[in-house]
């Protein structure tokens, strides 16, 4: 197996909770609470979970939009040397941020309305001194063409474009520096169904063409299944299960994964009322004060008192099968249901 492109070790991100007139810190939200994760070169790793589970924070820590509280983010650069993104000083970071790029979710707020496509997509080239003048224009035009936009649009402003086209601009901006790792944070959530498929296919084609590695953050399990090689499931700041996509979808080993999979509405009315749905309670525990033991036990239908709720007895991600890890104390006793393929 090739060496991983990114290794996250025991990563913590905490946000202070401030109250009162003087902004006193009364506690910490553990947005990311001890995550270990590896990303292999050339793969697409999916990161799924409900809103507030910390998946976006994890992605932003890797891009160093957020500085993590503790832990390591070891990135293996093109030369084969490991750098810790978590602690890299600013001058080093600038160089690393050429190789690790981000595609944001919101195609409307992520493009500066006062700049033309040429200025937006050319900005990274300009800032890193890669190209200027007509060379810059040529490269931007080429990149736009590659993501399916006509070079005629170079001098247009983002407001003239639809959500799907704006997302193509976002992708062009991320890829123009020829990065190695792309963090795509809900890149298709804001798009219409028919446009979503176009963007997903485009992302896949670009991956093959440029040999990219993706960290694909999404809450949509059907989209994740269709694009990801492996999937990591996150709950309350921790990873609860990591496995190959097929494995995870057909044989989940964590009750949370099972519940998530069962909740996805399937586009087939004949699957209705098949009794497969697991109902999770609506309320997520307070991330500033997570429950003791397994943090999922408050909503888990398999939780056993005295086993799952023991303080300090939180389960760790452990190997359950080859390439399949889950953080559940009872994983070996349970027979969890996965997805049955849609009858075609």
């Amino acid at each position: 197996m090739t060496a991983p492109i990114l290794v996250v070790r025991n990563l913590h991100v905490r946000f202070p909770v401030k109250r009162g007139f003087f902004g006193r810190t009364v506690g910490h939200v553990r947005a990311v609470d001890g995550v270990d994760l590896t990303i292999r070169p050339g793969e697409t790793l999916g990161l799924v979970g409900e809103s507030g589970c910390g998946k976006t924070t994890l992605g932003r820590s890797i891009a160093r939009i957020i500085t993590p509280t503790s832990g390591e983010i070891l990135y293996r650069d093109a030369a084969g040397a490991d750098v810790d993104l978590a602690t890299a000083p600013n001058y080093e970071l600038r160089e690393l941020q050429r190789q690790v790029r981000v595609v944001f979710q919101d195609p409307f707020s992520s493009l500066n309305p006062r700049m033309t496509l040429l200025q937006i997509v050319g900005e990274p080239l300009r800032n890193h001194g890669v190209a200027t003048g007509s060379e810059l224009e040529d490269r931007v035009a080429g990149m736009l063409q590659r993501v399916g936009l006509s070079p005629k649009y170079l001098h247009r402003y983002p407001h003239a474009f639809s959500g799907g086209e704006r997302q193509r601009v976002n992708i062009a901006r991320a890829l123009i520096l020829e990065p190695r790792l792309v963090i795509a944070d809900e890149p298709v959530s804001a798009l219409d169904v028919s446009v979503r498929a176009q963007i997903l296919n485009l992302l896949r084609d670009l991956q093959d063409e440029f040999g990219l590695t993706y960290l694909f953050i999404s809450h949509d399990l059907s989209v994740v299944e269709s694009v990801c090689d492996r999937v990591a499931v996150m709950y309350l700041g921790r990873l609860v299960e990591v496995a190959d996509t097929g494995d995870l979808y057909t044989r989940p080993r964590h009750p949370y994964t099972e519940a998530l999979l069962s909740a996805v509405p399937r586009p087939d009315p004949r699957l209705r009322d098949s009794g497969r749905r697991i109902r999770l309670a609506d309320d997520l525990p307070d991330p500033a004060d997570p429950p003791p033991g397994c943090t999922f036990h408050t909503r888990c239908r398999y939780a056993v008192a005295g086993t799952c709720d023991v303080p300090g007895g939180a389960p760790v991600l452990a190997q359950t099968a080859h390439g399949h890890r889950a953080a559940c104390l009872r994983t070996n006793e349970l027979d969890l249901a996965g997805i049955e393929p849609d009858p075609v």
């Binding site: 790029r101 309305p113 006509s150 402003y157």
Partner: protein, 392 residues
């Protein structure tokens, strides 16, 4: 301001490629594809009729302010003590007193009348006297833009010593029209200079507050709150009264402007801070940082343009406040003092009821204040509405 009001060149004509699907399902404005935000703002501004009218009036007033020396028949210090409270003269174009049509501008002279009861000396138009009036006549010397000396005036009596009081005379025998035109320069420039000072203070402190955040933000915000909590009129009065009486008119002018700016910067600082705070978390700003933009570039290239139109709107809206403040101070005799004339200084003459009964034209500077303030307010409102062309 000029670059905002001129539409930016369109880079490439033609229909937009694919119009955006409406974010909501409701219909949404659909601007042209290559129009920059500046032209979008301008288009929307043009739709605002009142604002356009305000813009034209404001432009006219500033033109008057700039070319005051040329437009005014006399200098602000020229007076003829023989004609106090001279009533306004009508400007005639044709003289038919001789029976035939005698074309040419002229006004009638005055004759003094002694009131039988009060024994007061008043003036009446004497239709038998004719004072020739010409365009581009030689008169008092002045300097265009304070540089080029010249002595031509748009309008004035052919003989500079003849009395001409188109809008009446003041207590001291000054021509009110001339003084109002000269006052325009002072009053309107105090608005601009004061706002410029407030702008620098407000943008710097607000920007630092919003961008740096943390303890700095806390400190600056407390400072802003302190200034906002001080009642402004007593503060102006106190500061203005504390000015040394022996200061020259120029010193006094700048001192008053500074006093006004010290109060006015707080609003701007709040606007700027708020914009910075909301923009700091916008994804395009995060993207700009990830694109390797330096901190300066993030602020000046990516953040500032996004709220420059809001800023211009706020600035425009704070000019009238300045003008009013100066007028009030001068009216109370605590602001500018002769020989400098401003509308407020001129209004001092209208303080007692007797003067107003005999010379109601002394209220005209007040009309100037009202028109200027309204026009600027309309422009500011229009700008504020147009500032965000992507929102409805």
């Amino acid at each position: 301001m000029t670059d905002l009001t001129s539409p930016a060149p369109l880079h490439e004509p033609g229909p937009p490629p694919e119009p955006p699907p409406a974010a909501t399902e409701a219909a949404e404005e659909r601007p042209k594809g290559t129009a920059s935000q500046r032209s979008l703002v301008w288009w929307r501004f043009k739709q605002h009729r009142l604002a356009m009218a305000g813009l034209i009036v404001t432009g006219f007033i500033y033109l008057v302010a700039v070319f005051a020396g040329f437009l005014a028949p006399f200098s602000s210090s020229t007076f003829n003590a023989d004609y106090t409270y001279a009533p306004p003269q009508r400007l005639h174009i044709v003289d038919r007193s001789g029976g035939d049509w005698d074309w040419g501008l002229f006004v009638h002279g005055y004759r003094s009348v002694v009131d039988d009861e009060t024994l007061e000396l008043t003036f009446e138009i004497d239709e038998s006297q004719k004072i020739d009036v010409g365009l581009f006549v030689k008169g008092d010397e002045y300097e265009i833009f304070g540089l080029i000396p010249w002595d031509r005036h748009l309008i004035g009596p052919t003989n500079p010593d003849d009395p001409m009081y188109l809008l009446g005379g003041t207590r001291t025998g000054h021509d009110l029209l001339s003084r109002m035109i000269h006052g325009t320069t002072v009053s309107m420039s105090i608005g601009l200079v004061g706002v410029a000072m407030a702008f620098v203070l407000g943008v710097t402190l607000g920007g630092v507050s919003g961008y740096v955040g943390g303890k700095t933000d806390l400190a600056i915000q407390r400072l802003v709150e302190f200034f906002m909590s001080v009642p402004s009129i007593p503060l102006w009065l106190g500061l203005a009264a504390a000015l040394p009486p022996d200061w020259g008119s120029m010193q006094r002018y700048f001192a008053i402007t500074t006093i006004l700016a010290v109060i006015a910067w707080t609003d701007l600082a709040r606007v700027v801070r708020g914009r910075f705070l909301s923009l700091r978390n916008e994804e395009f700003v995060t993207s700009a940082r990830l694109d390797g933009s330096s901190r300066r570039r993030v602020i000046f290239r990516h953040m500032m343009p996004s709220f420059s139109s809001h800023l211009i709107a706020s600035v425009t809206l704070s000019i009238p406040g300045m003008i009013l403040a100066e007028t009030s101070l001068s009216f109370l005799g605590l602001g500018l003092q002769a020989p400098v004339v401003s509308w407020g200084v001129l209004l001092q003459d209208a303080q007692n009821i007797r003067a107003m009964a005999t010379a109601p034209w002394l209220l005209l500077p007040g009309l100037c204040v009202i028109v200027a303030v309204l026009a600027l307010n309309f422009v500011g409102d229009g700008l504020r509405d147009a500032a965000d062309p992507y929102k409805r």
